[in-house]
Symmetry: none
Subunit: 131 residues, 4 copies
């Protein structure tokens, strides 16, 4: 079970990484039920990334994989084309990463948005390693 | 008219097939009015597939064809491009199959989600043959 | 953690009670994350009760109490007036009951709709006792 | 302009007050644009209060007053009857409080949900005093 303390650790690590690479991010953490536990929008981060960060976290937990992996499958002509229309809107480009506890169980996910998708993923991954 | 007993038969057959091919599925059955009759989420199945299974069942009944057939027509440049925006969200990749009674009348549809789209379709078809 | 087998037990017990008191119900079971696990609409049950049953189950888990208890507090002039506008719609009259495992932990909720609210609650409670 | 550091101060003060009065809260902070800046769900807090806390914060900023004050005006027969239908859902009972900077300008709002509305308001007010 995800605790608020764990979610705050993830956000703190993500914020640190975001500053280290000179970006401004929205960072969301959801629990195993895909419900929000904690959120932070850094000063000057894109407003539209607020919802994207939350949707990335949910999407990663919905399918227990990085959001970018789903995005490869949802392109035109690919097996999951337009899957984004489900679940009140998915975001399927990089920046959502699952969160595991010490025993390797998935306990939620983190979603990051505010820069290039590569940077978003880098920051999300840094957050995920805080656990 | 679809009965709950019929819907439960469909779900039981789909669950059996799902186990036989070692997958974990969300399975939804809708009636001729495209309204949910029965649903089951197998232990450990993807959470995001809950909504997708229901949307696949509805999509199949909305157009009385397998969801994958609609997906071929909704690609960029094709006649039904982005039809997924209608009806509060369609899912147009494989895994939704119409349900017919003994006399061949369409009485609803089954939607399955939780694995590859080929597996989803295989399980949905197994469910549809239970009637 | 709620298993599908547990959810099916709850639905079976609710169906049995529903038949015993000569009613036709929609029955929904959600897990601890308020996500649907299983659903059944009995033959001839009100179509509009489909969504109500699901919302009752979610509402009971959202606040870890029977839906009717919330409804007393959401009346005009009461402390939670119009709480129903949250969470994409709550249903706060009787028929939603929390589900506990053998050790007394809340693992989800059942929602029942299709008759008088007294009958709905009776059937939901019968379902909850199956665990 | 609300900074993330300010929002985190508000949440920290609200969490401290929540623990002091032995409650478990969802706490949301929005900026002057009524957009989420930071959020925290304390361990064991009601899941349904997640959305309510965010809606309370937005409601307080939408009208620059405590949510409870709006609730008095939205009762049957009162001037703002059923105003809750606007803005994708308002919450108009206590627990949402505006946030002001040192010069008295409104820079956002805090919303708290998870206990009685009196406790929710007490915790929100404690949060608001952190600035």
């Amino acid at each position: 079970m995800m605790t608020l303390a764990q979610a705050e650790q993830v956000i703190a690590a993500a914020k640190e990484k975001s500053k280290a690479i000179d970006t401004k991010m929205n960072i969301a953490v959801v629990d195993a039920g895909a419900n929000l536990v904690a959120f932070a929008r850094m000063d000057g981060a894109w407003l539209g990334s607020l919802d994207i960060a939350i949707k990335k976290a949910k999407t990663a937990r919905y399918f227990d994989m990085n959001t970018g992996s789903i995005g490869e499958l949802s392109q035109p002509g690919q097996p999951l084309y337009n899957i984004e229309h489900s679940n009140n809107g998915l975001i399927t480009f990089p920046g959502g990463v699952v969160l595991k506890n010490a025993s390797g169980e998935i306990i939620g996910a983190v979603g990051v948005s505010g820069s290039s998708v590569d940077n978003d993923h880098t920051v999300a991954e840094a957050g995920s390693k805080a656990l």
